[in-house]
């Protein structure tokens, strides 16, 4: 069977040799990372540069980041199926693939990151309901199943697979249930995005990360949910734009970008406001109540107050302002710049909560500690990035990720 028989009718895709050339370096990166993961799993985590002080390193930081960026999957589904933002149908498939790769990749890295991955099932058998990590584990695994279910209809609509009548019927029946899966996905995502923030907010022994909150949830719980919802649409817009540049053709109509930018801008503005309030409360109340003056945390040259400014103003307020202004976001360059900045902001936020929390001394006589990941840590995460690119590339080539693509191409031909 020729590979072009698998490509959707009317879709223009690169010839197979060019496609193979595109995936070759990613396969190589994946192989290198797989080897690094094998070393860690078979010999131990001494292959990383983590240590007893730096118990969390690059992997946890990037896991938190990709899960935040992958939030576009649940939030776009929520906007489309529950709030009926019909224009987002143009990107929902792409968002689901991004979410699926982000979440499954993060799960794989987590499995390498723990010292006893074969005991992962203990969390289901001996769950500590007070631990945020328990909530994260339950919600992420359940949500990964939801994402896989959301991916199935896309897969069954492949040109060859849909020739099987029962597949088509199954896909149709599954499609009718999408609103249910969108709601379940939203609920699960709300809790695991929040619990990822709560992971650090509950650390009462780490006054830099500890936050007061509502009932059992620290403020970081809600800030993580909101920031993921704000940055998810930005990341969907950014990836769509990147795919358009690589494919050299428009894939969605301009109003799709506008909707994504508008929603992202509004939520980002709300997030920046709440983050500012939270930071002021922490500086003036939470940290002093725990016996620490907040300024002490910024006395280390690497992590001065600039990081606070960069996180809230430069990569928060500024992109929110650009995305909030219709005239600015309608200019594609500004919209993409703002989306990049918003993604950088959420990345920096996750960096601060993981890496900076680990680096700062808590004991008065202890010192600031630095950490640089080993090549195995970089390579393992490189493998996940490569895996994401490969899954996305194959999905783009053989499935219909952008339903408006054909319509736009026909309109261009006519004009």
């Amino acid at each position: 069977m020729h590979s072009t028989h698998l490509i959707a009718r009317g879709a223009c895709r690169a010839p197979l040799p060019r496609f193979l050339m595109w995936i070759a370096p990613w396969v190589a990166l994946f192989a290198l990372g797989a080897y690094a993961m094998f070393l860690c799993l078979s010999q131990g985590l001494f292959h990383t540069n983590m240590d007893n002080r730096y118990a969390f390193g690059l992997w946890i930081f990037l896991d938190l980041t990709v899960i935040a960026l992958g939030a576009g999957a649940f939030f776009t589904g929520f906007l489309l199926y529950v709030l009926h933002k019909k224009e987002l149908k143009a990107v929902i498939n792409s968002a689901v693939v991004i979410g699926l790769t982000c979440y499954s990749g993060a799960m794989v890295v987590l499995a390498v990151d723990v010292g006893q991955p074969l005991r992962a099932w203990f969390t289901y058998y001996h769950p500590n309901v007070h631990s945020m990590l328990t909530e994260v584990t339950f919600c992420i695994t359940c949500y990964l199943v939801v994402l896989a279910i959301e991916y199935v209809p896309m897969l069954l609509k492949n040109r060859r697979l849909k020739l099987v009548p029962s597949f088509l019927v199954f896909e149709w029946e599954l499609h009718k249930l999408m609103v249910v899966f969108a709601l379940i996905g939203t609920l699960l995502s709300f809790f695991h995005q929040g619990s990822l923030g709560g992971l650090f907010g509950v650390l009462r022994g780490r006054p830099f990360a500890f936050r007061e909150g509502l009932a059992i949830w620290p403020s970081t719980f809600f800030l993580f949910v909101l920031s993921a919802m704000a940055v998810g649409p930005s990341f969907v817009a950014l990836t769509t734009w990147m795919v358009e540049k690589l494919a050299r053709r428009p894939l969605v109509k301009p109003e799709v970008y506008d909707t994504l930018g508008r929603i992202s801008g509004k939520l980002l503005l709300g997030y920046v406001f709440l983050k500012t309030v939270d930071t002021l409360l922490w500086i003036n109340q939470t940290a002093p109540d725990r016996g620490f003056a907040a300024h002490r945390f910024y006395q280390h040259s690497a992590f001065g107050t600039w990081i606070l400014f960069a996180e809230i103003a430069l990569f928060g307020l500024l992109p929110a302002f650009i995305l909030f202004q219709p005239k600015l976001r309608q200019r594609r360059g500004f919209l993409i710049l703002a989306a990049v900045m918003a993604c950088a902001g959420v990345t920096l936020n996750r960096f601060v909560l993981t890496i900076q929390t680990m680096a700062l001394p808590t004991l008065p006589f202890d010192r600031f500690l630095s950490y640089w990941p080993s090549w195995q840590e970089f390579a393992a995460f490189g493998a996940i990035a490569a895996y994401a690119v490969l899954v996305y590339s194959f999905s783009y080539r053989y499935l219909t990720l952008f339903p408006q693509e054909r319509e736009i191409a026909l309109a261009e031909e006519r004009s």
């Binding site: 001494f46 007893n52 005991r119 022994g205 016996g291 008065p364 006589f365």
Partner: protein
């Protein structure tokens, strides 16, 4: 890990470390390692990846070296490591007040290590290995831990277990008196171990020269320090650096 007899009155084991007596000889560290089957360090281990249930910090204060032995503080209030463990591998035993670690259940996620303000927890980055013949010296009352799990000081739980079994065999019930290896080994008698329910021992912790590390975090550590020198105390508690911390 621990047997909880609810009918028996509980103990609240605690430790008092006299900073004016400690000479930094490290006998406590060696005794701890031998008692608790802590393997010899891997040749590639660094001070940051080594396995020590008890570390001794060296500070300079009042014109002299101050040595600060630091075991697990056995936090008794809102124990930071216990609440975060996703699979109940950390337990605060109400019968003893000791925070136990169950290595057989540990996932190795290291969330407890991130949560501990005292960095009292260590991770098995390597497979534990003893030189040929040295495995004969292992303590049969303490299980060895495997690679990829977290471990920490448990106030010599093996000794507590042996003491309570001995008492039970003699028909006794309730709290028992025992001495952890570090306290027993200290040549300067800088480490005193006891039960906070014992008024005589509790009185020692209430003296003006007694204090706890990071007391303001509200985690209720059960390791107390004492020194007659205000300069030493300031250096150890950070009072000299930051007024709110005093």
């Amino acid at each position: 890990m621990t047997r909880t007899d609810k009918a028996s009155p509980a103990a609240h084991y605690a430790m008092i470390i006299d900073l004016d007596r400690c000479e930094g000889c490290g006998d406590c560290v060696v005794a701890c390692a031998l008692e608790n089957n802590v393997p010899p360090p891997n040749p590639k281990a660094t001070p940051r990846t080594g396995l020590n249930w008890l570390r001794v910090f060296r500070l300079e204060a009042a014109g002299r070296d101050v040595f600060l032995p630091m075991p697990c503080m056995q936090c008794g209030e809102e124990t930071p490591c216990q609440s975060v463990c996703p699979q109940k591998a950390v337990e605060l035993d109400p019968a003893t007040g000791i925070v136990g670690q169950i290595p057989e259940r540990c996932l190795g996620c290291r969330y407890c290590m991130a949560a501990c303000p005292y960095q009292a927890r260590v991770f098995n980055w390597w497979d534990p290995q003893w030189p040929a013949g040295m495995e004969q010296t292992l303590n049969p009352n303490v299980s060895v831990r495997q690679r990829g799990t977290v471990e920490k000081c448990n106030f010599c739980h093996g000794r507590w277990h042996a003491a309570i079994e001995k008492a039970a065999a003699a028909g006794g019930r309730g709290p028992v008196a025992y001495t952890p290896a570090c306290s027993e080994a200290c040549p300067a008698q800088a480490i005193t171990f006891g039960d906070l329910n014992n008024s005589e021992f509790a009185a020692l912790t209430n003296k003006p020269e007694s204090f706890r590390l990071l007391d303001s975090l509200g985690t209720g550590p059960k390791v107390f320090y004492k020194t007659a020198s205000t300069a030493v105390r300031a250096a150890v508690t950070g009072a000299a650096k930051d007024t709110p911390h005093a």
